[in-house]
Structure formats: structure tokens, C-alpha cells
Symmetry: none
Subunit: 199 residues, 4 copies
């Protein structure tokens, strides 16, 4: 009955938790959920940088150790909280036009990053990922890989259908598309972020 542990946690914990103990995580009880809820609340109240493990534990009515037992650091908790709460699945669009598909997916991502509280959280995580390799990997997996994969499919389709030049370097194109979005987000550039056109 135990639901599988969410991905970001595993990603950060590395090794894999399968061989841990006979009844690995026997009584995860409500604590687990309480922690994620507390983290989410605090995130909204104080922003990423303002949250600390102690506060999460206190708010969740949980011992600090219980948090450290399951997550290696603040970023891990928060990534899981984020994953749980807003299941930010990006859907592969099917508008029929490559260009429209790209605009659609970029629009979806941009919307999440700039119009929901999640955006600031993600930035906080990205900042932390610069320092901590484990966080970086988890971040990649959670917020990057999927998007790139979908986009790669779209572009491949475009090339196949002849809408894009066959010589197009797909990876670089992806970098430029997402790069522009992230770049503006991270540098607080104020001029309109909506006007995305060329490929």
C-alpha cells in the first residue's frame, strides 16, 4: 500500500533506499506529510531563503531528526514538497504546428516560473544547486530533463516534417529556448517576457 517514494528525494539521497531496513520506513505515519505541508506553508510565508529545517520541524510538530532521517537537506524537503503539491506536469502539445507547439510549451513553463509562487521556490533551489551537487542533480531531473525531452521531440518532429532545417543543432536550440526563459527569470529583466517568436 505504501506509495513509492517521490523522485526528487531519491535523486538527492543518491544510492537508493531499497536496501535500507526490513520494513524500510515502517511507520512514516502522518509525519512525512506534515513535514511537506509545513515546508509548503513556510515557503509561502517566508520564501525559500527564509525557511530553515528547524522551523519546518517545529511547524510540523516533528523532531528534527525525523526530517534528517528522510532528507539530506532543506533543498530535498522543499523539492519534494513542491513535487507533491503542484504536480507541474508539462504536457506535450499537439497544435499541429511546430512553432505553436514550442510557444505552447515555453508558455507553460514561463507561466509556472513567473506567475506562481513556485517560480521563486525554483529559483531558490537553482541557487542552492550551484553549491550542492546532489541538489543540482535532483534539480536537473525535476525541472529540466523532462522539458528538454519534450522539446527535443517537438524539434525532431519539425525536422522530420521539413518545417525546420535538418542541420539545426537540436541541443543548442533547446538551450537557447529555455536559456532565454531562465535567463530573464534569474536576472529580473523587466521588459516583456511574452514576446517569444523566432526559432
Amino acid at each position: 500500500m505504501e506509495p513509492p517514494v517521490s523522485q526528487p528525494l531519491q535523486a538527492i539521497q543518491g544510492a537508493g533506499t531499497s536496501a535500507k531496513s526490513p520494513d524500510c520506513r515502517r511507520r512514516r505515519s502522518q509525519s512525512h506529510q506534515a513535514i511537506l505541508t509545513a515546508a509548503t506553508e513556510l515557503l509561502e510565508e517566508k520564501g525559500y531563503a527564509g525557511v530553515c529545517i528547524e522551523a519546518i520541524a517545529q511547524r510540523a510538530g516533528v523532531g528534527k531528526q525525523t526530517i534528517y532521517r528522510w532528507w539530506p537537506c532543506k533543498a530535498a524537503v522543499i523539492m519534494e514538497a513542491y513535487a507533491t503539491q503542484s504536480d507541474q506536469a508539462i504536457a506535450l502539445p499537439h497544435t499541429g504546428s511546430i512553432k505553436a507547439d514550442l510557444l505552447e510549451i515555453l508558455g507553460q513553463i514561463t507561466r509556472v516560473l513567473t506567475q506562481t509562487p513556485a517560480g521563486l521556490v525554483i529559483i531558490g533551489l537553482l541557487a542552492e544547486a550551484q553549491t550542492d551537487l546532489k541538489v543540482a542533480e535532483a534539480f536537473q531531473q525535476q525541472f529540466v530533463t523532462q522539458h528538454r525531452t519534450i522539446t527535443r521531440t517537438i524539434l525532431a518532429n519539425g525536422i522530420e516534417r521539413g518545417e525546420l532545417r535538418p542541420a539545426l543543432n537540436v541541443e543548442v536550440a533547446i538551450d537557447m529556448l529555455f536559456g532565454a526563459v531562465w535567463y530573464r527569470l534569474l536576472l529580473n529583466i523587466s521588459h516583456s517576457i511574452k514576446s517569444l517568436s523566432k526559432s
Copy 2:
């Protein structure tokens, strides 16, 4: 004879110190330099996240207060240390071809970010800028504005000369160009960063 106060400091200290006192900020003596030197050394030894104000003060043989007197936070010290040490001026290239010019400038930036210790420092600063608005502004001024301005000139030239479509959204183009570079840098993407083509 006093050299003008370097920019990043001023940028972070905000408002502008011009109206402050007749000789605005007297005699920073050797301490000032010692602090920047110490910061640079520590940066190289421990990386951005591993540096703390106390350590800088100790290494520089300086009271902590002397640091806090002139800089509001770690990021400010480090930005000035960086600016002092590596005068990372990006030169406007004149290769004759728009494409070559762009590759040249992107190459310069990429080189600094990926092949010098400065790269990691800059990433640390960018991470911190996400939390602290003052740092963000200074960062922008130090590491972004200039590059964008130069690139904007190149693209404008290109349009004028007919090498680029007149309808090109210059700002978005710049976002995509720099975005790609920063994006890879921040996400540690390992596949080659050299293969840049389209405009």
C-alpha cells in the same frame, strides 16, 4: 590621487554617495586592499560558499567592522574583489562579419565563465542575487548590462547591413544568446558548449 571608488561597491551601497561628505569616504588605506586580497585568496581556496566575512577579516588582519563599514554583505566584497582583480572587460569585436562578431563575444564570455575561477564566483553571486535585491542590481550592472549593450550594437549593425532580418526582436535575440550560455553554466550541462551556430 585617490582612484575612484570601484563600481560594484557603489552599485550595492545604493543611492549614491556623491552628496555624502566633502571628500566622500576618506582614507581606506591598505585595509581596503588587504580585504580584497584576502577575499580573493579565500575565494580561490574555498569557493564562494566557503567564504565568510569573519574569515576575510581575519585573513586581512582587519576588524570585522571595517568590512561592514564599507560593504553591506559578503557579495559586495566579493564583487569588488572580482572587479579589482580581473578587469573582465569584454571588447567590442570587429571581425567584419556579424556572425563572427557574435561568436567572438559569446566565446569571450563563455571563456571567462567556464575556464577561469571567476566563473564559479559569478555563479555564487548570481545565486545570492536571487535572495538580495541589492546584490541583484549590482550583479546586473557588473556582469550583464555591458555585455548586452555590446551585443545590441552588433545586432543593430547586422540589421543595418542587411545581414539580419529587420523584424528581428533584438532583445529576445540577446536573451537567447546569453540565455543559452548562462543556462548551460548554471545547469552544468556537460555536452559541448562550443557548437553555436544560428542567429
Copy 3:
């Protein structure tokens, strides 16, 4: 098995900790003792004014927070250290003569104040008590009340037995007796403190 918390601490911590938690203040372990020991040593080495919380923490191999957790200030630590170490109980004398009893008790107090290192510590505490009400109360309780009580008994006996005038204002008499001792102590008067006669 836990020995009861010593009085001066409680006195300074104020209100009373009885309603705090089931086992009110768990496990002070060795740290507690280490802190008191360190405080005592430093007291002997540098005198009251030369001791600081940071030094106590360092010497005791303890985090500063552990000190602040249990004591509100330097004075509190030192009073407890003093109380622990030298159980300066003043015994009710029974020489048979009121005058001799008084001389005996004053002699005891004088001895502690002038011939042991404790004297200087107590002076330091008294000086600090002038600034901090909590310290003042604790000081009173630790170094004054008991002495006055005993002396009050002696004087009452004396009146009962007819050795002293019934009209004697007992409180004022106590003030004068102890006052003389403290007065000399605080003002470093050098002429002999032994010559005590009248009542």
C-alpha cells in the same frame, strides 16, 4: 537521581520553572559541570571582570548557546559556580555570649570576604547587581538573607536574655553590623578590620 538545581540559578532565572515541563530541564550532563568548572578557573585566573561568556564556553569545550540556554548572563553562571564550589554556609554560633556570637558570625563573613578569592568574586557580583535587578535579587538571596536571618536570631536572643536593650532596632543594628563590613570591603579601607567592639 538528578540533584536539585542549585538556588542561585533558579533565583536569577526568575519566575520559577516548576510548571515548565514534566521533568523540567532534562540532562544537563557533563557540560553543566564543565561550565561551572571553567568559570571557577577563569575567575581565579582573571578575576570577575576578566571573565567573559565566550571564554567560559571555550574553556569548557561547550557551545556558547549551551550557556545561554541555562543562564541569562555571566553573573548567573558565576553565582552558581561559586555556590557549587564553596558551600559558604555560615553556621549559627553558640558561644553563650551574645557579643561573642556576633563577633563570631561577623568574623566568619569577614574571613570569606577578605581572605578567600571568593571575596573579589562577590564584589564583582555586587557591582553587577547594581545594574541588573535579577542579579540583585539572586545576590540578596545568596549572600544576604541568610546572614541577616542568623544575626536576627542572635540579637533577638540577646534581647530576650536581657543582654541587649529591648528598644534596640534590630534591623538597623543588623544594617550597621554588616554595613560596616561591606563598607570597608567595597571602599578598600586599609586600617584594620579586626577591631570590632560595640553593639
Copy 4:
């Protein structure tokens, strides 16, 4: 025309200022007075412990150095401020009766200590005197010697006139009289301080 430097200053500065410089203290200007005034004000606003040299300097519109030039420490400034402001001369009373004279002088002292702001200042000074020998000497001179001298005269008169036993140890008697007053002051004993009778 230069008025002689007030006593507490000299007392604390020790050595004597006579041989200092040709026109020793040439232009003491208004600064000197401004400092004392500032000290007095701050004393009333924040109490002895709340005053610091920097605040005095700032309030007086004076460089810190100017204070250090003339006084060695906070206590010295404050003693002079006190001496200047409230010229707390205790007058030798002549009521005709020894007992009345003593009550009169004790009453005067008690009044100053308990019913004027000066009382708290003096306590602060006494506390500091415990740490600093120089302060102790100046304190003695300022607040003790004179009183003792006057009282000694009264008691000697009393013995001469036969109102007091010739065997009376005058010094101890003085200790007890003043001791009682100071003792109550320092220990914040609340029961009436007015009821002083026996000798």
C-alpha cells in the same frame, strides 16, 4: 584666569597635570563644558551603565579624542560631571547635640543617595571602582573622605564633651554609621531607611 581643574579629574589622572605643556590646556573652549553637559544628560536618560564614551562625544559634538585627552575613562568624566553639576557639599552641622549632628549629616548623605538621581550615578561609580583602582581612589576622595572627616570631628567633639564613651573606636563607629547607609543603598533593602537612632 583658567580655573583649576576640578578634583576628581586630577585624582584619577594621578600624576598631576602641572608639567604637561607650556600652555597646558590652552583652548579648552566650550568643549569641556559640552562634554560634561552631554554626560549629565545621558546619565539622566539612560543611567550610568547605559552611557558610553562614544555617545557622550557625539552628543557633545566633540571628537572622542578630546574626551580621552582629558579624562582616562568614563568614570572620570562622569565624576567630574557630577561634581560640577551638583556641588554636593556636606556641611558640618552645629545643632549643639552630638546625636542630632550625626543624624543631620547622615540625613544629608542619605538624602543625596536616595532622593536624587545622583544616587544611582554614585552607585554606578562605586561598582566601577571595584574594578579600577584609579576610579576607586577618586571615588574615595570625592564621596568618602570628606564625610568621614566631618563625622570624625563630630565624634571627637562628643568624646571631648563627655557625651560619648572615651573608649569608642571612632573609625569603627564611622564605618558602622556610613556602612549602614551604603549597605542599604547597595542592597536595595526596602524597609524604611529613615529610622536611624543609636550610636
